[in-house]
Amino acid sequence: MLRIEGLTAEIDGKPILQGVDLEVPAGELHAIMGPNGSGKSTLSYVLSGREGYEITGGSVTFNGVDLLAMEPEERAASGVFLAFQYPVELPGVGNANFLRTALNAVRRHRGEPEVDAMQFLKLARVRMKELSMPEDMLKRGVNVGFSGGEKKRNEVLQMALLRPKLAILDETDSGLDIDALKIVADGVNAMRAPDFSALIITHYQRLLDYIVPDRVHVLMAGRIVKSGGPELAHELEAQGYAQVAA
């Protein structure tokens, strides 16, 4: 599904990713853990195509296609989804209008018919109920006045509607209380399928109690320094990054 080889990237001339090698097979959920400043968020932005990062070496293929050559919207349309650590507020853009526009953009790319406002509402209501989201969140501006938990749920709602093949969850657990964490985890677990993979970027092991990964990778100073099974997350929690990576 996703193959990253020797990826190096810098921002404003400062190297951040220093040779990342990583493979996520179809159907697997992988966690990336690492201390602050290790390059976790940079990796998620580079994969989703945000401007401002210079790729200086290496390659990323997504189902055999060169991901780095694609515009952000092309990556999204072909099935890459980034759940933002800090979802962006869009005053004046209604959430329903935003969600439907995104859904139709992706559906057009897949050759599927667009959904009208009524069809969309039916779809959205089902998903929102699963995420315990009040319906008035459709009427508000995108993420405007949303609490931290509501913003994260709105991210998971977008994922559930767009049905990506690869979801990158960037610190989706930050700022969530335990109830919200469970709801968000349930939303991710519901996506599990043979053709769905996820890259779960997190600082703490807590989220991984609810979304059990197939593999755990430790990212330090822009490199994957250790990989292992789910138990690696517990080791990290108990002993700290420095100890485990040594």
Binding site: E73, G92, T101, V106
Partner: protein, 419 residues
Amino acid sequence: MNAINNAAGFLARADTLSTPVWAASTRAAGRAALATYGLPTRRAEAFKYTDLAPVTQAAFGAEGQALALPALPAMRGHARLVFVDGVLRGDLSNLPPRPLSDAAGLLGSLAHATQPLAAMNAALFEDGLFLDVPAGEDAGLIELVSVVTGAMGPIAFHPRHVLRLGQGARLTLLDTSDGVAGLGYLHNPVFEISLGEGAEMAHVRIQREGRAAFHLSSVHTAIAARATYDNFTLNAGGRLARNEIHASLDGPHAMCHMNGAQLVGDGQHADTTTDLHHAAPDCGSRQTYKTVLAGRSRGVFQGKILVSRAAQRTDGYQMNQALLLSETSEMDSKPQLEIYADDVKCSHGATVGALDAAQLFYLRSRGIPQEQARSMLVEAFLTEAVDGVGDDACRTALSEAVAGWWVGERSTAPLAGRA
């Protein structure tokens, strides 16, 4: 260097007009000011960013030769007054207009010849509207429609509108100016509006003149105790458009809202100038203006707030935001606060910038193509401005006027494409 722009053409025109006795002093004051000072150049502080030279250099014909009547904007309510080439047309209106002569005592009481646009209007007005809403009456929604026919040559017209709302009276005025593409006419309306105690007026203006036209308008409003004047102006048309609002909060607990949006496309210059006087205690004012600029264009916002010594506990707010969609657009923003009272809350702010990169990326990361994402953000910026308008019919008219502006602009102006 000439300190004044030559107003000879306008003066010659003024000398051909016959003036009734009730208008004589207003006319004389306007003519004298125009003869002495002409039209201001950019050396005048209030016109530093807006050059009126193209207006003085244009040749305007004396009379419109009425051609086919253009389509009138869609009816939003039940009552409308229609001006064609600056002349009130009873046959197209469905309100019995009161003659301007009935407004004799009010004429010139708020718009003084010291203001250049008002002076030009006073020297040259030939027609106008007098709306008098008696105390306690709710006049509902009235539309004031201005269209031009595309006369034989470009003409200049200077309507003078006088409105009076009695104590507790209410009025929503939807005031639209539409024009003809490619015709370099001048529309120079002046409003004199007096609001009695507790009166409420919503004044929604949609300026959509042709792209070769000049629109120079000024609103002069006196607001009595507990009364509210609520102005929203969409400044969208014209080659050169200046919209002045002069408002005075004259009694305690009076309120003034001045909001608006400017859509400035390739080849356009749009200026909003507000001049607000807090003359009484416990009054409030709110101003939010949003300007979007594309192509080779220039936008101006000048906002003056004067708080007199007597105006204690004033609560004033002013915000000016501009979105630059091209590298060849320019926004000039000048807030000006003059405060003589000591117990005052008065804030102002201005932002000028391009589309937000983080917002753009967020939309694109959801599969929305770049150009569509841009359009969504431009529309959102304008939606935020328009959504504050309380009257449903007026808000709908504004939304329709704003919708698709950027898409149209992008397709016609090649320079407008880059944010």
